[in-house]
Subunit: 226 residues, 2 copies
């Protein structure tokens, strides 16, 4: 029996790209959005791309709370603006929740990290505080939405942070759907404070070098990282 | 005529390793410390390692302010604790100042980023505020002191942030002494807020995987990064 993943905010570029990868990797995916009417067309678009892909999971659409209700694992892929109110309204008790939310601020000098809780917080920690009955893991912050929507394995690493070892292992395994390799255990959940705004650096590099950059960790043997 | 680099805090592991690499790459290096008496033996140790290395620069030792006085480029490689008082006392007017300082905090759960200026600051920005007559660039935050003290080119990228293009280019070039490749232009100086505490993530990975990890940026063609 395959595992079902809800993607809250699954109509945005990051959520849509990750939903596509997860379904391509064999997981059943429920694309969540504010309403089922918004979610269903995106689910259909993803399903259409997966036609004929052997072993692909199903892709359906639902309003965010209903999507969570159908899933064991919930990916939160919503904008930082409005994040807390949205997460507080979701039925997340007992779920494994993966946050890939990047609290960023933008001005004429470019992107930079938004200040969360006076510098002592992150979107992932906020989600954990708002859903104490869930287990929150941070991952997939730094993967390019553009590359996710393509077919090649991404030449980068997925850094995974969390306070519960088993949940973290599960998400490290899920990373294979994106990079073809296991994710990297990058430490405790609070280190999401460092991973989330790192995306601002990649945005800056992308602008300068006209690319879709990502993070790789050097110094890991293949067998360690795998 | 070769360029002279002062390494403030050159007796610490990061400063000593970078001083070694810079001298090995042909720059003249002045190791700085609280007193010349502390600096000279480390300078002699580095010079001894470079004996017979063709094209290596000279390595001497001096108290931090005197080291700065002899140099065009000053690397600040001091601990975050006491950083501001120390930097405020240095003669940095007109100098290119490179900050590799990582404001980190440690507790029983490991390393994490220390909060600088309520989350809206970094060691590099503090240095720029304290030395308005200098041009501050952030770089070399994430390179392993252990690997720096070896001889191989590091298999990672040096991310360089700064607000003045020419100074940034000069530091990107200096990165060749460490990685054999040009550093990567990672954006404005304020993105040091993201690069500095990223070292906490690498420390966490090092502990978990028993390695000396580093950062590589994917998505850059060799010719772009070079």
């Amino acid at each position: 029996m395959s595992q079902t993943i809800a993607v809250v905010g699954g109509t945005g570029p990051q959520g849509k790209g990750l939903g596509y990868r997860f379904a391509r990797g064999g997981y059943d995916v429920v694309v969540g959005s504010r309403s089922a009417e918004r979610a269903v067309p995106v689910a259909e678009e993803i399903a259409a791309r997966l036609e004929g892909v052997e072993g692909a999971g199903s892709v359906t659409g639902a309003a965010n709370p209903e999507a969570c209700g159908q899933a064991d694992l919930v990916l939160v892929a919503v904008p930082w603006d409005g994040h807390d109110d949205l997460v507080a309204g979701l039925p997340l008790d007992g779920k494994l929740v993966v946050s890939c939310v990047n609290p960023l601020a933008f001005d004429k000098r470019g992107a930079h990290g938004a200040i969360v809780n006076g510098g002592e917080g992150s979107a992932a920690e906020s989600a954990q505080a708002l859903a104490p009955g869930a287990t929150v893991v941070g991952a997939f912050h730094n993967v390019s939405a553009v590359l996710l929507w393509e077919d090649e394995a991404l030449d980068e690493d997925v850094l995974v942070v969390g306070d519960e070892a088993e949940a973290k292992q599960q998400v490290m395994e899920l990373a294979r759907t994106v990079t073809g390799r296991r994710g990297i255990d990058a430490g405790k959940l609070r280190l999401a404070r460092q991973l989330e705004p790192l995306t601002a650096v990649l945005i800056s590099i992308n602008r300068k070098y006209k690319t879709h950059s990502g993070i790789r960790i050097s110094g890991l043997d293949t067998h360690q990282a795998d």
